[in-house]
Amino acid sequence: MRIIALAVSCLFAASASAQETFKLGIVSFLSGPAAESFGVPAVNGAKVVLEAFNKGQAPAPYNKTGFGGMRIEPVFVDENGGATKQVQELRNLYDREKVDAVVGYVGSGDCLAVAPAAEEMKKFLILYDCGTPRIFEDGQYRYVFRTASHAVMDNVALARYLKARGIKFSTVNYINQDYAWGHDSRNDFKAAAAQLFPGVKNQADLLPKFGAGQYGTEISALLSQPAELTHSSLWGGDLQAFILQAAPRDLFKKTQVVFSAADHVLPGLGDRMPDGVILGARGAYGLMSPKSALNDWWWKLYSDAYKTYPVQAPYRMVQSLLGLKLAVEKAMAANGGKKPTGEQIAAALKGSEWESPAGKIRMALGDGHQAVQDTAIGRTKYDAAKKMVTLVDIQRFNADCVNPPNGVKGEDWIKGGFKGAKCD
C-alpha cells in the first residue's frame, strides 16, 4: 500500500519541481516466487536508504542530502511478468515517467533483455543483482553497469573454501534449478572443483524445475547414491522447501551440503536450518559482513525498520545506491553543479570504486562496467540462546581471488586454472 502511495505521489511531484529532484526507477520482484527472498527485501532496503539520503543522515562520504542536494524520488516497478514486459516498462520509465536513472533487475533473463534497450535509448541503467556473467562478457555497453559481482565468484569461492578448510571429498551430487542460473552455477562449481580437487567424481546431476516445491523424488535420488559433497544453487522458496523435506531424511547428516546463495533463508528458517551446512551469500553480506562504521549504520537502519537483519538482497541494493550517489555527485561537480546527464553519470561511475557495508566495490571488469567485490563463505550453527542461526568458520576471499581479471571470461578463467588470481 505504501508503495502505491509513493508511486502516485511521485506522479504529481514529477511535474512540480523537476530541477531539484532526481527521479530514480527501482525495479525488482514485488510479486511471484522471487518477491519474498530478493525483491521485497531489496526494495525495503532501498526505501530506508533513500529516506536517509534525502534527510542527509548517511555517514560521510554519503552525507550530502539526496543526490548532491537533489531530492531523490523513487518509482517502483514489479519485475514479475517476463523479460518482454520488463523491456516495455523500462522504456516507459525513461520516456513516460522521465526517470533520470534506473536501478534494478534480479533475473538474468531480464538483465540481458533490458541492457540493450537502455543502451539504445542512451539512458543510465544499473543492474544491481542478476547473476549471469554473459552481460558484459558477450556485450559492450556505455550506459549499463552492474554494481555487484557475477555468479562465477560464488561457486569459485565455495570451492576455494572447501580447499582452504581441508574438507576432503571425492564424489559430488548436484541439485540445481532447471534454468540458466542453475545450469551456470553447476557448471562453474564443477569446473572449479575439477581444478582444485583433481579426480573428483560427479554423480547425480538433478535439475528440478523452478518452483517445483516437491523434492521427495530428488532427495531419494540424492540418498540412493550419496556423495561426500552435495552442491546446490537453489534459492528462495525452492531452497526452503528442499531443506524442510531433506532434513528429516538425514540428507544433511549423510553428505556435506554446500549452497552457493543461501543466507537469505537463515532468518526465516531459524532452528529448521541444519547445522554444519556450508553456504555463501553472493558477497560478504549479512552475518558475514565486515565490521565497519558504514556497515553498523546500515545494519541498524535496516534492522530498526524491519525487525530483521539485512541479507544478500538489501545489501546488493544499498551498494548500488551508494555507488550511484557518488557517481551522480561527481558528475554534478564536473557539470558545474547542474543536474548531470545519463552520459555524465556513466562517465563518473565507469571504473570507479567506493566503500559499501560489504566492503570495497570496484568497477574493475567489462572495462569499468562490471563490479568485483570481496565475498565470504561460512558454516551454519544454531545458537539456541540468541534463537537464531549463526555462521561460524567464516572465511573471507578478496575480490581478485574469486573474480576473473578484466577481459577474461569467467568460464575460461576457471578452466585455465584461475590465472592471475591474487589470494595472498
Binding site: 502505491i4 516497478v77 517476463g82 523491456v87 516495455q88 533473463g109 533483455a113 540493450p116
Partner: protein, 312 residues
C-alpha cells in the same frame, strides 16, 4: 476487395503520419501491440472456424527464435527478410500438426495446442546453446539495406511493423470475405451441414491453422526485432493466454478491433504496473473480467454497429 485495399492504404497513411507526432513510449507500445496483434489475428482467423488455440506461443516463439537466429548466425539483417523467415519457420513447424489438429474442437483443440507450445517451451529451456531460460539478444535489423540511426530506430521499427500489420490485416479481411472465409463461418455454425454440402471441413480448418501460424510467426519475428531479446517465455502458456484474451476482446467480426484490443491490453498493463506496482495483476485481472462480462461479442461488435449505421 478494391474497397478493402483502399481502406488499408488510408489507414496505413494515417498511422505513419500519426507516428511522427506520438511520444516515444507510445510508439514502442503501439509497435509491440501491433506485433502481438498479428498473433491474435491468427487466433481470430481460427475463431471464425469455431476453434481457439491456447498455444499460439508455439508459433510466436518459433517465428521469434527463427528471426533472431537467422540474424545472429546467418548474419541476415534485413527486417523484411527476418519477418519472412519468422513466418516461414512458424509455418514449417505448424504444418505437420495441421491435419491432426483439424480433427479437434473446443477445449481439446485448446489443450492440445497448449501442450504443444509447452513442449517447445521445455525444449527451449533445455537448449543452452540458445541461452536456455535467459534467451539471447539480437542486433537491430537494417531496413532495405539501410542501417537505422539510433534517433530513428523507434519510428523505423514502428513504421515497419504497422506497415506489415496493415498489409496482413488487409489480406485477412479479403480472406474473411472470400468464399472460403464464408464457409469457415458456416463451419463454426454447423460443421455437419457443411460436409453435407460437399465441402471438406478438415481442409478448411487445417489451412486456417497454417495461416494463423504464419501470422503468429511474423508477429514473433517483429516482436523480437522491437525487443532485441528473445526467451522461452515466448512459448509459455501465460503468453498464449494473453493472445487469446486479445482475440476474445476483439471478437471475430472486425480486423481493426484485434489491434485496438491488443493496444488496450498493453496500455492497461503498462499503466497499472506503473501506478499500482503491487497490485497490477489484480488490476489487469479485473479489467479482463469486466471486458468479458460487458463485451460478450468483443470490441468488433461495436465497430460493426458503427459501420452498419454508416453504410446501410
Amino acid at each position: 476487395m478494391k474497397k478493402t485495399a483502399a481502406m488499408g492504404l488510408a489507414v496505413l497513411a494515417a498511422l505513419l503520419a500519426g507516428g511522427l507526432l506520438a511520444p516515444k513510449w507510445l510508439l514502442f507500445l503501439v509497435t509491440m501491440s501491433a506485433a502481438n496483434g498479428l498473433v491474435s489475428l491468427g487466433i481470430v482467423l481460427m475463431m471464425r472456424g469455431g476453434v481457439v488455440s491456447f498455444g499460439q506461443g508455439l508459433v510466436f516463439a518459433a517465428g521469434g527464435y527463427a528471426a533472431a537466429l537467422v540474424s545472429n548466425k546467418l548474419g541476415v539483417s534485413d527486417a523484411l527478410l527476418l519477418a519472412a523467415a519468422g513466418g516461414g519457420a512458424a509455418v514449417l513447424l505448424a504444418a505437420p500438426f495441421a491435419p491432426l489438429l483439424a480433427r479437434y474442437r473446443g477445449i481439446f483443440f485448446a489443450m492440445l495446442t497448449l501442450a504443444l507450445s509447452m513442449v517447445l517451451y521445455g525444449v527451449l529451456m533445455k537448449s543452452e546453446s540458445l541461452g536456455g531460460s535467459d534467451g539471447f539478444n539480437m542486433r537491430r535489423p537494417t531496413l532495405l539495406g539501410f542501417s537505422i540511426p539510433d534517433a530513428w530506430s523507434g519510428y523505423a521499427l514502428y513504421a515497419l511493423v504497422v506497415t506489415i500489420a496493415v498489409l496482413l490485416s488487409t489480406a485477412a479481411r479479403v480472406y474473411f470475405d472470400s468464399a472460403r472465409g464464408l464457409v469457415a463461418l458456416a463451419i463454426r455454425e454447423n460443421e455437419l451441414r457443411v460436409e453435407y454440402l460437399g465441402a471438406s471441413v478438415r481442409r478448411v480448418m487445417a489451412l486456417d491453422f497454417v495461416l494463423a501460424a504464419f501470422l503468429g510467426g511474423v508477429g514473433g519475428a517483429l516482436a523480437v526485432m522491437a525487443l532485441g531479446h528473445i526467451e522461452p517465455q515466448f512459448s509459455y502458456w501465460t503468453t498464449s493466454g494473453e493472445f487469446v484474451f486479445v482475440s476474445i476482446l476483439a471478437g471475430h467480426h472486425s480486423v481493426a478491433a484485434v489491434f485496438a484490443a491488443s493496444l488496450v491490453l498493453e496500455l492497461v498493463r503498462s499503466f497499472s504496473s506503473a501506478y499500482f506496482p503491487n497490485t497490477w495483476q489484480l488490476a489487469l485481472g479485473l479489467f479482463l473480467l469486466i471486458v468479458i462480462r460487458f463485451l460478450p461479442k468483443g470490441l468488433g461488435s461495436l465497430f460493426n454497429r458503427f459501420s452498419r449505421q454508416a453504410a446501410p
